[in-house]
Assembly symmetry: C2
Homo-oligomer: 224 residues x 2
Amino acid sequence: MEKSPLHSISEENYLKAIFALTPTSPSGVSTNDIAKRLDTKAASVTDMIKKLADKKLVNYKKYQGVKLTNEGRKVAISTLRKHRLWEYFLVEKLHFKWDEVHEIAEYLEHINSDVLINRLDDFLGNPEFDPHGDPIPDKDGNLTPHQNITLNDLQKDESGVIVGVKDHSSAYLKFLETNGLLLGINVKVIDIQEFDESVKIIVNQQNEISLSQKASKNLIIRKL
Amino acid sequence: MEKSPLHSISEENYLKAIFALTPTSPSGVSTNDIAKRLDTKAASVTDMIKKLADKKLVNYKKYQGVKLTNEGRKVAISTLRKHRLWEYFLVEKLHFKWDEVHEIAEYLEHINSDVLINRLDDFLGNPEFDPHGDPIPDKDGNLTPHQNITLNDLQKDESGVIVGVKDHSSAYLKFLETNGLLLGINVKVIDIQEFDESVKIIVNQQNEISLSQKASKNLIIRKL
DNA sequence: AAGATAGTTTAGGTAAGCCTAAAAATCTAA
DNA sequence: TTAGATTTTTAGGCTTACCTAAACTATCTT
Ligand SMILES: [Mn+2]
Ligand SMILES: [Mn+2]
Ligand SMILES: [Mn+2]
Ligand SMILES: [Mn+2]
């Protein structure tokens, strides 16, 4: 008798997607949004939602969108924990760049062994944030949510420290890296253009660069 | 357009099983042997063998058993490399015992990223042997085969060093551990019972213990 | 309030990887 | 050398996770 996993890889990916989309659709995540995020078709999403509802991982009423149950949220957070710990491992121990780790972690996150992930956590020194500044849930599923102030919210002459990114695309992360915009770096807004909301900033009290609104609204900041 | 892996997890497991069974059935590995090793049914094996033959990973003639092609052997060895490197990681970095790592490595071995596995290899210091004494293939697929002399082959008063195990079961590994029979340990045969081929040995020039033939023929030795 | 449109579900189908039961091939041993 | 046993293959089914096309529901526009 082989012990089969409680949740399939697909189920875990759906739960994680619903969890991620919940803040912007708290009244119910739509079929289409899930389909877009998982690069699949709406009909497939409806299929899977029914299975998740049968397993009591989501609450679902036709045409009303979907919400995680407590149990579903637990699975999503546990998957996030694994994803972020593996990302941290890849960057800190195997010297990957922060734009190279997401895809590999998409696979590693589905290795389900509590012993494994807790030992990895200890081996890494119980890190609080992943390489993109996202908080790593602890083994009891506690997740300190990000503050949501971005560079775009700063006024002229205000400064802050980079603590995370909202856009995890390789293109964006590479762009940040070439401009020295890494976690922990100090930024000060010295000018804001009205017409396109682009900002001129000083990076680390040294270089002066200018960022589009799209770039600045994806950079999470702790105000100083 | 998602890039889908060249070989499925199932395909990799079949290729690994065929590779492992080849030494004892060089003229062709039988359907039943594969089924037993993978804990599946003969009919399922026939299905998969056909798929592998279509992909030119094995040569197959009905009722004649199956042999790996060069390409198939490459995939098998690459999977072994991953399996053994992850086992080494689990024992050396996460402090698992040697009897606890196999199952987890069964999953980790299917994460297919050359960059990942080569960086892991470097991080671990390019180990040559896994926690069970099995050789780890290098990145070009070179695999130094084990010598096959076991404790059972030693004559009275001969001694050797433990370099591996043939039986990887948790029961056997735990038994060895409680008797101090670990890799690198010195053993000397001081008596052999004719009637049941059990041996009395001295472990590490200290403890005297007695081993059944079943126990001694699964312990790989380098003669001194 | 009705029709157009956008979003969602259903219907029906596919491929992978497994299964049981039955048929066919091969091996073994008298 | 041939009957019986064993092994292997085939036939037909199942589940998961996808898909397209068509039908349905909800929402927006006039
Ligand atoms: Mn994933
Ligand atoms: Mn991340
Ligand atoms: Mn495996
Ligand atoms: Mn091993």
